[in-house]
Symmetry: C2
Subunit: 209 residues, 2 copies
Amino acid sequence: MAQNTAIKVNETSRSAVGRDGVLDIAARLFREQGYGSVSLRKIAEAAGIKAGSIYYHFGSKDEIVAAVLDAGIRVVHASMRDAITDLRADTDGETVLRAAIRAHLHALLDVSDYTSANVRIFGQVPQSVRDANLPTRRAYEAEWDSLLSQLKKDGTLKQDVDIRRLRLMLIGTLNATLDWFDPDRGSADALSRTYADVFLNGILQRQDT
Amino acid sequence: MAQNTAIKVNETSRSAVGRDGVLDIAARLFREQGYGSVSLRKIAEAAGIKAGSIYYHFGSKDEIVAAVLDAGIRVVHASMRDAITDLRADTDGETVLRAAIRAHLHALLDVSDYTSANVRIFGQVPQSVRDANLPTRRAYEAEWDSLLSQLKKDGTLKQDVDIRRLRLMLIGTLNATLDWFDPDRGSADALSRTYADVFLNGILQRQDT
DNA sequence: GTCTATATCTGGATAGAC
DNA sequence: GTCTATCCAGATATAGAC
């Protein structure tokens, strides 16, 4: 009886990945191989089940991709928001901005297959799937706009910066690291410091130093 | 006879796009729709011929994509190199860097379907096609590294910048504009000025001003 | 140089047994 | 919840006529 149970557990752990397990595997494959190269057959194989079985959990491939994309933004959004709300109320603006940058890169490069999958495949999925992901993205963009507006208001940032353009430049720059980041060449944390340095102070040698 | 010729010309201009014409159309479609969504049938239809006819000009779809990718880098490389070699020998470093940034964005956003197609679909094509494009990319990267090294040497840039990392950040940032750039909201030229400002001086309000 | 016709393959999706 | 079997659409690629 005890042995019987043990066998059942083994069988379960191998095949009954469940809906969330399938999503985890799909996110990892999308991050590694892109959207077009990942078929339902590949996802099923990696999950240890057959392609047809996927349809017990999801109605279509689009439904899987949409779920991955939404989770990807939610993770990075939570990471960035937590990072700045955890700070003391009197923290200076520069430190807050550095924390937000670090949190975004951390989610993208260290933590989440969902976030990296989103960044990698968003431009490859059908229009309808992109559209479904837009509300979630807008919420994250609004969080950044809110932060940057505050930093502009309190005098941390130059007064002539365009908030929207700065946000697009910032997130675009951070996301682009996904194409070449290699943990063997330096941590995401160190990278975030370099990026913050450049954004905050520029790369020009200054006479006044 | 004159009419006969006219008819022939019309027929020719509609269907005999030739190898280069097919490439132009393929580049435009890849830029607009990505790699996976563009079939040979779509390319052929846009070119006014049938899918099978493509194989008179190319041996495979990969061959088309590879040609588009290579041309894309060659165009932006030439644009950037010309921009900096056209300057007087005594031009200050900051101006040279601004010219290089402007040239890259100009090729990407204003001029070339090939360059924008490359940036958009490089991460979507089969590994073998990516590999075939690498030598061309390396040459362009070397051009940037050479420029940045010179600017570091002559004291334009901070002495602690990592050339490779700065190049990756710079090109990644510029390429990311492709995802959202809208000519109705401002020219690529104006955008390049904003980007150069941020990279050179940062976004922090300075006390010493 | 382009056409038609077709071979071959792969992918998403469904139905019904277990 | 998962399997097998199968349908169907769409894609690359080839062959031979014109």
